[in-house]
Symmetry: C2
Subunit: 457 residues, 2 copies
Amino acid sequence: MSRCSCEEDALHRIRPTPEERTYVRTIGSHLIEAVEKTGLARAMMVGSVARDTFIRGDRDLDVFMLFDPSISREELEEKGLALARTVAEAFGASCREKYAEHPYINATIDALDVDLVPCYAVLRATEIKSAVDRTPFHTRYILQHIGDLGDEVLLLKQFTKTGGVYGSDHMTEGFSGYLCELLVIYYGGFRGVLEAAAGWRPGVVIDIEGHGSRAFEEPLVVVDPVDPERNVAAALSLTRMSEFVELARGYLATPSEAFFIPPPSCPFTEDAFRRTIDGRGAKLISLTFATPPYTADTVVPQLRKSAESVRELLERSEFPVNRFDVCMQEERSMLLFELMTDTLPAVRRHLGPPVWSEGNARKFVGKYVDADLFSGPFIEDGRYYVEIPRQYREAALLLRSRSLLDVALGRHVRKSMKEGWEVREGRACWDESFASFLGEFFRHESPLVRVLRHRQE
Amino acid sequence: MSRCSCEEDALHRIRPTPEERTYVRTIGSHLIEAVEKTGLARAMMVGSVARDTFIRGDRDLDVFMLFDPSISREELEEKGLALARTVAEAFGASCREKYAEHPYINATIDALDVDLVPCYAVLRATEIKSAVDRTPFHTRYILQHIGDLGDEVLLLKQFTKTGGVYGSDHMTEGFSGYLCELLVIYYGGFRGVLEAAAGWRPGVVIDIEGHGSRAFEEPLVVVDPVDPERNVAAALSLTRMSEFVELARGYLATPSEAFFIPPPSCPFTEDAFRRTIDGRGAKLISLTFATPPYTADTVVPQLRKSAESVRELLERSEFPVNRFDVCMQEERSMLLFELMTDTLPAVRRHLGPPVWSEGNARKFVGKYVDADLFSGPFIEDGRYYVEIPRQYREAALLLRSRSLLDVALGRHVRKSMKEGWEVREGRACWDESFASFLGEFFRHESPLVRVLRHRQE
């Protein structure tokens, strides 16, 4: 594999040390041994540690405990959690019960963040009973096909992390580790992936095993080699895909270490916030409420959906929205909107029926002829209009009204908002705990642009 | 013809008195005699006086002088005007030269407003050399077909006048007298016209002689019985047609004298103007300049076109326009706009190319990466955007800028505006000489609604 010096330099920084590798794998082996010697389940390491594709310092150890598929779901959960606890406590760790599709145990063992996950030992990935059952198949597939491309995967992971497009969680909507591994295998290396990606458009389909069995809607489709029904890139948004494409082009044009070194985060202060919003002159408005007590992967899509509904309400009410974004924090969540106008005239134009629609026309005129109007009913190009008093002349009043609960909010978000929400405007939107979110909202530049500017400094 | 009492009452008021009729026709005959005894041309009365379809008091007398078609256009104009002058002066009148498609003489003779118009005596209306040559054919056709429907025409004319939809000039865009006559002939009377119109939709075609020889685009088509290529209703706008349809329905539902008696004009005062715009809370902005020295039929369409272009400029610049209208006065003309917002943030969103368009994407990023921006370039759903400083944050500054001369203004309007124009805002838009235009702009109700409200008072 011929690499430029910046790639070699990056590898030098991100490749795990031999000591680190040995240390993590040793602990993994001990955990597997501890599980299997109970005779209750088999065990295996999965994830990037198992595949030797982890970045230095990212030492999350995933140990899966594979139970016989004949036991019931309840039995699996009960036995699985009990076994996980026993093993973790034998290593002197305290346990935290967590929940993805089903429950598992998270523990800190010898300074490693360890997940002990019960699953079914099914024979084929297409026979899985729960999403976690698929993970062992992914690990086996990568181990069989990765060959000497491990370093190439490290480069692609570091490149996507630096570019802010790594992570298939619902906040990022980017590339998962497994997706990076498959792309490197398919295109033969880091450079091969970038050269292909530079020419991607929405609609690219990659089917390594040539077994895809249905059509997919997503902008990038990578058929799972272990399951022809699944798109490994299903979580990737069009925006993240586009950002990866421009990063690939930018890197191929001018390779540089800046693509592998995350820029230092610049803290956003209240003072900078004030100068920013004063300079833009637009109308900022925030909506905060208690974060629903669920994982980010449940809550974030609901925040997005809620914000989209609120945006529609604002625009239907003639408050033009320039941009909006959402942020989930531990305690509070925020929907943030920047409006071009937050105050409107008293008069509102209201569309009526076509004159040709005789019954509706008569009803419309009858309804409004004696009403308290600014003007009308009048006719323009064959349609009736009236000019009526506007219910909400200020965006903040609209967002404080109970009618906000009538738009399509996510289920948990609605429940939380029923307990109350806060609307703030302009400078009052500043909130120390949302500082970095506010900073990103206003900085807002594509990953390539960020790299180019960072390199110039 | 069975008529309701309000129609009989209306006829009683609008039908010319026998004395009036005799008086006008006698003067007409004397003028014809005076023309014909020179041996230079034949002469005939045309228009509503000739057809006996004039409303009491509307005593415009049109005498056409029909010259041999073999003479040249220059000769026609020269001889025609000379003859008209001679005749008018013989009646002791002073002459004013006027110009429609070609020149004619206007004179006040025995308290009548008389037009003496030279034209060609062509054999068929399809052989005309100038639009005025067609008029004698219209008069002959109506005289042959009107029978005893004269009173019915008077009712329809008065009905359309009261409703504000009478007049085929470019300001009104309504029904001409000839169109009223043809509709009455076709539908057999005033009531017949209304009953048909109540069911009209755009696309109605009426072809009395069944000889229409081409497709027409206008919402109402009435093929000229004397010229299969011409739509008598070509000047009728969709809005005026719709207003006539609703008037017809309203009258048939509840016939009333209010449909024949124009409501008293209520004067609009500066005080009422201020209360109105304060109440609406919208942003009024007016643009005035010297009226170009041409007839209303030339200038008004150019004012409309100019106002439409200015509206597009405003909306392209993100100032939403609620309504606009134009007014031509003797000295000054006005384009009037009501905006929902007249001030915008400094930040303006600017759309770039799709990320997939590699060359354009590279150029766009290259152009903006070092530019002075609010944010970006960033990517949303596969497209680039930047947020740049806005050139005009205030609508008034935009309308005062020279860039206004770059939009599609009418030719004469542009020439006049090159000499300067004035932009006023809010209360400063008040101008005594545009008082009734401003009043109509804000009253703005359909003719039926006006009748219904007037009747209630």
